[in-house]
Every structure is written in structure tokens, then in C-alpha cells.
């Protein structure tokens, strides 16, 4: 379709601690990428084009119309790049679950017995590291210093280091969401109007409405069954009511219920609604409320303890993508036992 564009939008795509799934997601517009090129000039996109950091630094402040950042803030340089992007861009968009909530990389913020370096460089069975060498921020080789960026104590969301204008969640953001972003850009190009600052470009309500599976009269389950142990998964009935863990009730709509359509429970990669500040705590409240709610009056405290014991890895399951921005991750462990 013929688009009369006064001037193309300058777009920069920067990345932090990423798996580049978000880059692939943009490329997954497939043929539509050609329409995007009509209204957009990529001035920075390392994964797909030959731009170097200095190319970004060389741009004038505010010269970039829209700066997309995907990946979590994991090293000091991620933070540096985010700040440069902020300086150079009129609008900064947090793109994908990592930039929005810390994503899977922020799982590293959870407490574990062993330290990361020990697990990777010492305890791994396939690593022979007798001297126990570990990567250093600076190494002297024949008089020259080879540097590595320092690893931050936490992998955080983009808005923990810079001011963010818009949010596009998802891991990676699904095609319908990216199409919404393209529409927003097109309207911005043609009319210069933008959604309210801080808007999340996804559904405002939760997945259950979009999922289309029927909800039975009563939703009450005894325990969560892992998908490989359940005898049969009903393709039309709500997964949660079948005891299959699904974070749909607490997760934004907008993805087209891709996972639940395939008999797989949602893990919340679009994050919570505007009103919820801690995705995991809200989901836990809903799920435990329905645990044996039909027969709860026959239970004692000890019976409930046994049931709760069977909930698999609550921290890792209910905070799969949002631990970085969760309230609970802001608590710190007590020094003493």
C-alpha cells in the first residue's frame, strides 16, 4: 500500500543481556518487514546490521526517533548502552520480557547455594580448570590489558536504569504485538500522535478472556499435575481446572493464547495488568485460593501444609519472567541464620 511519508522514522535497536529472540521476532514480520522499511530507517541494529557502538555515540542527542532496547541490564556496559540510547532517542521502548521485567536472565537474582562463577568455571563436570582461573575484568597479556565488562549484582529491567516511554512485553513479543507497534509508529509518522506515556502495548485484561477454553462450574484442584504425568489433557477445558499450572488468570492478553491452545499452561511472559505490582504474589494468591476450595472445610492446617509442599518451585514458576521487577526480589536475605 502506498505510504506517503514525509520523513522516515529513525529507529535504533539496542541490546543488553539478550538471546536475540526479540531480533528474530522483528524479522518474523517476514514480508511485512519490507513495509516497515518504507516508514523506518534503521540507524542502529547490531544483530542485523554493521553498526558499532560508536556509530550510536556519534549520533546527535534526540536524533533517533524511536529507540528499542531488548535484553536485561546484566553488565555495566548494558547500563552504559541503555543510557546512551536514552540520550540519543526521543522515545525509548522496552521491547520483550527481559527489558520489561528482567525476564529469564533475572532468575539469576534468586538466591542459590553456589556462586555463578563456581558453577560455570569450577563445578561443571566437563571443565578442567586445575588452577581455578576465572574470567577477570582486566587481564594482562604481553603488556596489553584485555578487558571484560563487570557483571552486575542483579540482572534488572530497563526502567531500573533509564526512563522508559513505552512497554512491549512478551518473550519474544508476538507478531500481533509487533504489528501494534508498527501501527503506533505509522500513526506517529502520519499524525505525530502517540499513546499516553508509560502505556503497555498489549491487552489491558488477562489471558482467560482470550484463551477461549471453557471454564467449568467449579474450579478446584487438589494439586498441580505435570503435563507428562496427566493421563489426558482435555483440549477444550480450562487447563487450571484440570490441575495443570497456568498463569493465564494473572497475565495480560494480547498473545493470541498461543501456548494454551497447544495444551500447555501459560508462564506469564506478557506480565501482569497495570494494577498488579508483583506478578508472582498475585498468582500465588489466586492459585492457593482455589486449591481444594471445594472441600476446604474438611482440611486441617497440616493437611494444607502437605498440599502446599507439592507446589513445584513457586519462586521459579510464578516469577519466570518478572522476578527483576518483583517486590519480593527487593527484599534482602537476613545476615544471621
Amino acid at each position: 500500500m502506498e505510504v506517503i511519508v514525509m520523513n522516515k522514522l529513525k529507529v535504533a535497536v539496542a541490546l543488553g543481556a539478550t538471546c536475540a529472540g526479540c531480533d528474530v521476532a522483528i524479522l518474523d514480520l517476514n514480508e511485512k518487514i519490507l513495509d516497515v522499511i518504507e516508514i523506518v530507517d534503521f540507524v542502529f541494529w547490531p544483530t542485523a546490521m554493521d553498526f558499532k557502538l560508536d556509530d550510536l555515540k556519534a549520533l546527535k542527542d534526540g536524533e533517533v526517533d524511536v529507540g528499542l532496547y531488548h535484553g536485561a541490564i546484566g553488565t555495566e556496559e548494558d547500563e552504559e548502552i541503555a543510557k546512551i540510547l536514552r540520550k540519543k532517542s526521543k522515545i525509548v521502548v522496552a521491547f520483550g520480557a527481559c527489558a520489561n521485567f528482567g525476564g529469564i536472565p533475572s532468575l539469576t537474582n534468586m538466591p542459590y547455594e553456589s556462586k555463578m562463577f563456581d558453577v560455570v568455571y569450577k563445578e561443571s563436570p566437563s571443565t578442567s580448570n586445575p588452577e581455578g582461573t576465572l574470567p577477570q575484568k582486566e587481564t594482562e597479556i604481553e603488556g596489553t590489558k584485555l578487558t571484560l565488562p563487570g557483571i552486575r549484582k542483579r540482572a534488572d529491567s530497563l526502567n531500573s536504569v533509564i526512563d522508559v516511554d513505552y512497554y512491549v512485553p512478551g518473550c519474544p513479543p508476538m507478531v500481533p504485538l509487533i504489528e501494534q507497534v508498527v501501527d503506533v509508529l505509522r500513526v506517529f509518522v502520519e499524525k505525530g500522535t502517540l499513546p499516553p506515556k508509560g502505556a503497555v502495548i498489549a491487552g489491558q485484561d488477562t489471558l482467560c478472556k482470550e484463551c477461549g477454553r471453557t471454564k467449568p462450574e467449579t474450579i478446584s484442584y487438589k494439586e498441580f499435575v505435570s503435563p507428562q504425568e496427566v493421563k489426558e489433557i482435555d483440549p477444550d477445558l480450562c487447563l487450571l481446572s484440570q490441575g495443570i499450572l497456568c498463569l493465564g488468570p494473572a497475565t495480560r492478553s494480547g498473545c493470541g493464547a498461543l501456548c494454551t491452545k497447544m495444551n500447555v499452561g501459560c508462564r506469564g511472559c506478557l506480565g501482569p495488568t497495570d494494577k498488579v505490582d508483583d506478578h508472582g504474589l498475585k498468582m500465588i494468591s489466586a492459585l492457593t485460593s482455589l486449591l481444594e476450595v471445594e472441600h476446604e472445610e474438611e482440611y486441617t492446617e497440616e493437611d494444607f501444609d502437605k498440599l502446599l509442599e507439592k507446589i513445584p518451585d513457586p519462586l521459579g514458576t510464578f516469577y519466570r519472567f518478572t522476578y527483576g521487577v518483583s517486590m519480593i526480589s527487593k527484599l534482602h536475605p537476613d545476615k544471621e541464620e
Binding site: 485484561d205 488477562t206 488468570p249 501482569p272 495488568t273 498488579v276 485460593s289 482455589l290 476450595v293 472445610e297
Partner: protein
């Protein structure tokens, strides 16, 4: 999008000394200073006794003088004087829900002695209450329209009494009874303990009163098929099954039974005597009319016999009657679905009820009744002889957790004693032997009744459980152990009466599913509170009376019936039900219809309104517990004047400084 807080919040804080109760460990002056300095309030005043008239006047005058739009009274527990201060504020023109109480007496002055810390804590509690009051919105009590008509389910003595009381209170009542007549099990009794009143004599006047009461709409051969709605607005569907006899025309001439070729067991007489397919349950039946038993009649559709119709002079018989669904609305419901007796067929030790001369208590009642199968003469069902020795077995299948009912049914000791006494009246030279574990005589004049049977009528009481009853010639060998003498006992009896306990009737089980009433572990309906709310169910607007909630005697049943009627009448008394307005509300923009709230609500107050496709809260049922707001995974449900953000602010205020 937050509603902008347009009107400026002008908060008045009134600190009460409560004489010395608060002032002794809270420095009132310092407290007032702290509140003025730390919080954005319009004025801070104090008074020796805020609840006194001067105190309340101070409140009223300050509201008007400074046109305060929020008030906090820092005094005692809200249970004490919240209504006092709210109505005082209302008199001054302020919405009562904009007044909050900060408890600095039970929670502070009475429990702490360090004056400085107590004052600091009082200030924090006031600060926290300020966070609540500035977020309160003016509210009005909810008004739920009430349909001023009651439904009584079950036509036994409980249902009859309840219906009469409500009708006498001036409200319309629909009484629904599944069988062709009201009267229930009481109509089958000969006489009642301890007064030995003739059961029919005291019951039938009430039955007639029901039939003649203008406010009572009696529906027999009918059953409730569905109940929707909530207190004040129950939508009920009742199926009225056909009697095939027009009640108004039938003049009880009894010509039809003579020609009816079908002979079957008569349930009213415990199948001890026959009846025809067309019959009247018992002479005093209400409604006074014959009825055709569809199952045993040779055939109505297609019509096979119709002999009865041919002889009926007044043409009262009409085979074209069809079942009919009646839809009505009610403000309150009383469940009085009665009991059944524990079937003697279940008790293997006593012959599974196979032997004709081993009968149940109700069977014996029929033998005693003048309108019974033996016209009141006690004859053995096997050969019609008058039995010389009769054994009455107490606790037959009761207090026996291993095999039968674990509980005691309260009335069997008394009706067995009554049976023994009546038998001795009728067969003076007969021997009545009662085997018992404990004779329970816990009602008025019950002990005297038992003494009379044992001492005057010489009924022999043997303490011991009957272990076995076996046929021995034309008599029955009853084996037991006399635990007082510690010896085995064997008695040759001509007749054995098993005093079985009470179990929930089939009707009780059906209605519990229909109304979603919870049952106790024995299947009887569960009261809202066993001690303090015996006639209320867990669902507001639904009441329970009589043996539907557990074994009890007639006096207790009747008093429960009147209690339930009074409770129902209080609902019907006003056009509107007023309810606390702090209920849940749903924001549809973020609600994902995940049904969590529907399943969490203990009152079924939340439902999916298919029409608009939105989760909706029934104002009449929501009690404001807030469980849905805490569970809602999308944060779409909030309680009026108790939002999550508000509670967060209250916590933060407690921790500041």
C-alpha cells in the same frame, strides 16, 4: 485512572480522654500536637468523654463550623461507639461512612504503660486511620427489594406450624408437600408422649387451619425443582404432579375404591394393610380428597380401566390432568423436609426385618391406631393373635458406630416406653420387656412418664443390648445379656418391636443439593451455628425447622418451626433489606473472566452475567469479606472504602517516623 480527589479533604480529629482510661497512659496534649504537626488535618479537638452528649455536640458543631468532610474519633473500639459517632455526624449533615474510629484505648492506653511510646503509637494509629478516612467515599446502605411472600418446603408438623405462623403474621405462604396430604409422620402416630394425647386430635385442627387459611397456598403432590436468586428475591420453580381427582368436587363418598380392581400396600399403614389404586391416605387427610396413584393404576395414558370414573357421581375424576410447573418469587424459604426411620432391613442381627412379627416402631404405631390395620387391637401380623409377651428393643441400629448409626436419636427411648405402656393398657395380662442401654428421658415430664411405665404398668426394663432374635416355633427367641445382673437372658416373645433411630429423609438430601445447603457428616442440614443460630442456614434468607437438621421430638420441632417463621417474617416485614454498603466492585477493563472470584466467594455472590459478558457482584449476597479482592489475579476487584492501595497506605503510615 484515579478519580481526581477534587474536593479538599478537611479532616477533623477528636481525641477522647475517656475519663482516665485513655489519658492515664496517653499524653493527650502531646498527642494532639503530634497529629497537628505530622498530618494534614483541619482541626484536632479533645473531650473528656466523646460519647457523652457534650462530646457529640462538640463533634456536630465542629463539623458545621469548619464544614469538615471527614471525621476521626480517637477513642475506644469501633464495636462500642461507631454507630454513636456515625449517627451524630449524620445529624450534622455528614455522610456516616466518612467517620472512622481510631482505637487508642483497648489497643494502646489499656495495654501499654510507657507513656511516651503509648503516645507515639496512638499518633501512628491516628495517622493510619487518616489514610483510610481520606480515601473513604460517601455511601448509602444498600436497599434490596423484598418479595413479601414465604415458601415452606415439607408439610409435616414443622412445615404446618411455620406456614400458619407466617400466614398469621399477615404474609402469603406457599406450602409444598410431595405426598398427597400434609401431616407427615406425626399423622401416623397413635398417641404422643408424654401426655398420651391422641396424635390426630392435636394435629388435624392445624391441618384444617392450613387448608382454610386465606394466606396459605397449599400445593400437595408437588416438589420444588429449581431455586435461583438470593434473600428477598428467590425465583422458585415448583412441579405440581397430577392427582387425577378434582379436590373441590370429590365428596369422599368412597364409591370408587369399591370398583377399583387394583390392590397394593398402604404406605400410611406401613404396608400392614392394603389400599386401592385410587385412595385417601387417611380419613382426615388435607386436602380432603381422593388421589389416583399413577404407578399402580392399570393405566391412565393410554387409559386401560376407568372403572372409578364411571361410578363417580360428581365426575371428580379427570384423567387428562398434566404435571404443571409453577414459577413464583419468595422473600424467604423454610426447609422442613422431616426424617425417615432407619430401615430395620439393614439390621442383620435382628433378621433383616424378614420375620412378620419383628416390626418397627412406626409399624407398632399403626397397630395401636384406631384407624390402623387392626383398628387399635394389637394383633401379630403373622397370625393375628394378641401377643402375650412383647419385646421392645431400644437403640436398634443406633449408638453403633461399627455397623449402623453412630448417634443417639433422642426420641426412641420415649416412644418405646410409650409403646410398652400402651400395650400394657390394652393387654393387661401381657408382659412388656424393654431392652435398653440407657433410658434417656431429657424432656419435660419424661422421667415421670418412664417411672409410670416401669412402676405402675410394670413394664420390665432389662439393661442390655439384644444380641440376636431367631424364630423358635411360633415364637421369637430373643437373646441378650442383662449387664446389671451380669447374666445371659433369653426371652420367648410373641412380638418384637425395634425402636430404630432417625435419618435424613430423601427430601432433605434432594433439597440440600437444590439450595446448595451444606450438610453435617450424618447428612442432616447444617445450621449456621449449632448453638446461636439453630434455625438459620448458612445462606441468608433460608431457614431450617424440625428433624431436617437432626433428630428431635415434636415440642422442639414446633418451637423451631415458630422460630424459623419469626426469622422469615423479619425479612418479609420490610419492603427493603438494608445491607452494609462496603461490598466488592469489579473493573471490567482489566477483568479477564478467569472465574477465580466466583469460586472463592463463600456466599456465591459473584457470577458471570452472560448477557453483558461481565463478572457481576450480587449486592444482596456480598458480605464484604474481601477474599475476592485479595485473590483477583488481575487486580480488578476492590472493596468500597477498603481498597488495596488504601490498606497499603495505612500500613505505610504505621511504619513512618
Amino acid at each position: 485512572m484515579k478519580k481526581e480527589m477534587d474536593e479538599k479533604k478537611k479532616v477533623g480529629v477528636f481525641v477522647c480522654h475517656c475519663g482516665r482510661n485513655i489519658a492515664q497512659t496517653v499524653d493527650i496534649e502531646k498527642l494532639m500536637e503530634k497529629v497537628r504537626e505530622k498530618y494534614d488535618v483541619e482541626l484536632v479537638e479533645d473531650n473528656m468523654y466523646m460519647c457523652s452528649d457534650p462530646g457529640q455536640n462538640l463533634l456536630k458543631e465542629s463539623i458545621q463550623a469548619k464544614n469538615l468532610n471527614r471525621v476521626i474519633v480517637a477513642a475506644c473500639s469501633r464495636d462500642m461507639h461507631e454507630p454513636t459517632f456515625r449517627s451524630a455526624a449524620q445529624e450534622a449533615g455528614l455522610n456516616p461512612y466518612l467517620v472512622e474510629i481510631a482505637n487508642i484505648r483497648e489497643q494502646v492506653s489499656w495495654v501499654h504503660d510507657d507513656k511516651e511510646k503509648a503516645t507515639e503509637k496512638a499518633s501512628k494509629i491516628i495517622g493510619s486511620t487518616i489514610e483510610k478516612v481520606i480515601r473513604d467515599e460517601p455511601l448509602e446502605p444498600l436497599k434490596i427489594p423484598v418479595v413479601q411472600r414465604a415458601l415452606v418446603i415439607g408439610g409435616g408438623i414443622a412445615g404446618i406450624q411455620a406456614a400458619l405462623d407466617i400466614a398469621d403474621a399477615g404474609y402469603e405462604v406457599t406450602l409444598v408437600e410431595k405426598s398427597p396430604t400434609i401431616g407427615g409422620h406425626m399423622a401416623q402416630l397413635a398417641e404422643t408422649f408424654p401426655t398420651l394425647d391422641c396424635s390426630q386430635c392435636i394435629l388435624t385442627p392445624k391441618m384444617v387451619a392450613v387448608s382454610r387459611h386465606p394466606k396459605i397456598n397449599l400445593l400437595t403432590t408437588s416438589e420444588v425443582v429449581s431455586v435461583d436468586g438470593y434473600v428477598g428475591n428467590f425465583k422458585v420453580q415448583i412441579r405440581k404432579n397430577p392427582r387425577y381427582v378434582d379436590v373441590d368436587k370429590c365428596n369422599l363418598c368412597d364409591d370408587c375404591t369399591a370398583v377399583c380392581p387394583v390392590v397394593v400396600h398402604d404406605e400410611y399403614n406401613q404396608s400392614l394393610s392394603p389400599r386401592k389404586a385410587i385412595y385417601i391416605p387417611f380419613p382426615q387427610a388435607v386436602p380432603a380428597s381422593y388421589v389416583i396413584d399413577e404407578e399402580t393404576c392399570l393405566g391412565i395414558d393410554p387409559l386401560i380401566c376407568s372403572k372409578c370414573k364411571d361410578v363417580c357421581l360428581v365426575e371428580a375424576i379427570n384423567f387428562d390432568m398434566q404435571p404443571e410447573i409453577i414459577e413464583e418469587e419468595f422473600g424467604a424459604i423454610i426447609v422442613a423436609t422431616g426424617y425417615d426411620t432407619y430401615p430395620i432391613e439393614n439390621i442383620g442381627e435382628y433378621g433383616y426385618g424378614a420375620h412378620p412379627d419383628i416390626i418397627s416402631g412406626l409399624d407398632f404405631e399403626r397397630l395401636l391406631s384406631a384407624n390402623g390395620p387392626t383398628q387399635g387391637v394389637i394383633r401379630r401380623p403373622s397370625d393375628g393373635k394378641v401377643p402375650k409377651t412383647v419385646v421392645f428393643v431400644h437403640c436398634a441400629g443406633s449408638r453403633d458406630p461399627a455397623k449402623h448409626l453412630p448417634y443417639c436419636s433422642k426420641i426412641c427411648c420415649m416412644y418405646s416406653t410409650k409403646h410398652a405402656l400402651q400395650y400394657k393398657h390394652l393387654v393387661h395380662d401381657g408382659t412388656a420387656i424393654n431392652f435398653y442401654i440407657d433410658v434417656r428421658t431429657a424432656g419435660k415430664d419424661y422421667e415421670e412418664f418412664y417411672k409410670r411405665a416401669a412402676e405402675e404398668e410394670k413394664v420390665i426394663y432389662v439393661r442390655g443390648k439384644v444380641s440376636e432374635i431367631i424364630e423358635d416355633g411360633d415364637q421369637l427367641l430373643v437373646k441378650a445379656v442383662d449387664t446389671l445382673l451380669g447374666e445371659a437372658v433369653e426371652v420367648h416373645a410373641d412380638l418384637v418391636v425395634l425402636a430404630t433411630g432417625l435419618v435424613p429423609s430423601k427430601g432433605t438430601q434432594e433439597i440440600s443439593h437444590l439450595l446448595k445447603l451444606s450438610c453435617d457428616s450424618k447428612g442432616f442440614l447444617k445450621e449456621a451455628h449449632p448453638k446461636l443460630k439453630p434455625v438459620e442456614s448458612a445462606l441468608s434468607g433460608i431457614f431450617i425447622a424440625g428433624t431436617a437438621s437432626g433428630p428431635k421430638d415434636i415440642p422442639e420441632t414446633v418451637s423451631q418451626a415458630s422460630g424459623a417463621a419469626a426469622k422469615a417474617a423479619t425479612i418479609l416485614a420490610s419492603e427493603f433489606l438494608e445491607r452494609e454498603p462496603q461490598i466488592a466492585q469489579v473493573d471490567p477493563t482489566t477483568c479477564g473472566l478467569c472465574h477465580t472470584c466466583i469460586n472463592v466467594c463463600p456466599y456465591g455472590a459473584i457470577y458471570l452475567d452472560e448477557g453483558v459478558g461481565r463478572i457481576t457482584v450480587r449486592e444482596a449476597l456480598c458480605e464484604g469479606c474481601g477474599s475476592c479482592a485479595a485473590a483477583c489475579p488481575s487486580g480488578s476487584i476492590e472493596l468500597k472504602n477498603s481498597t488495596s492501595e488504601g490498606i497499603r497506605a495505612r500500613i505505610k503510615a504505621l511504619l513512618q517516623g
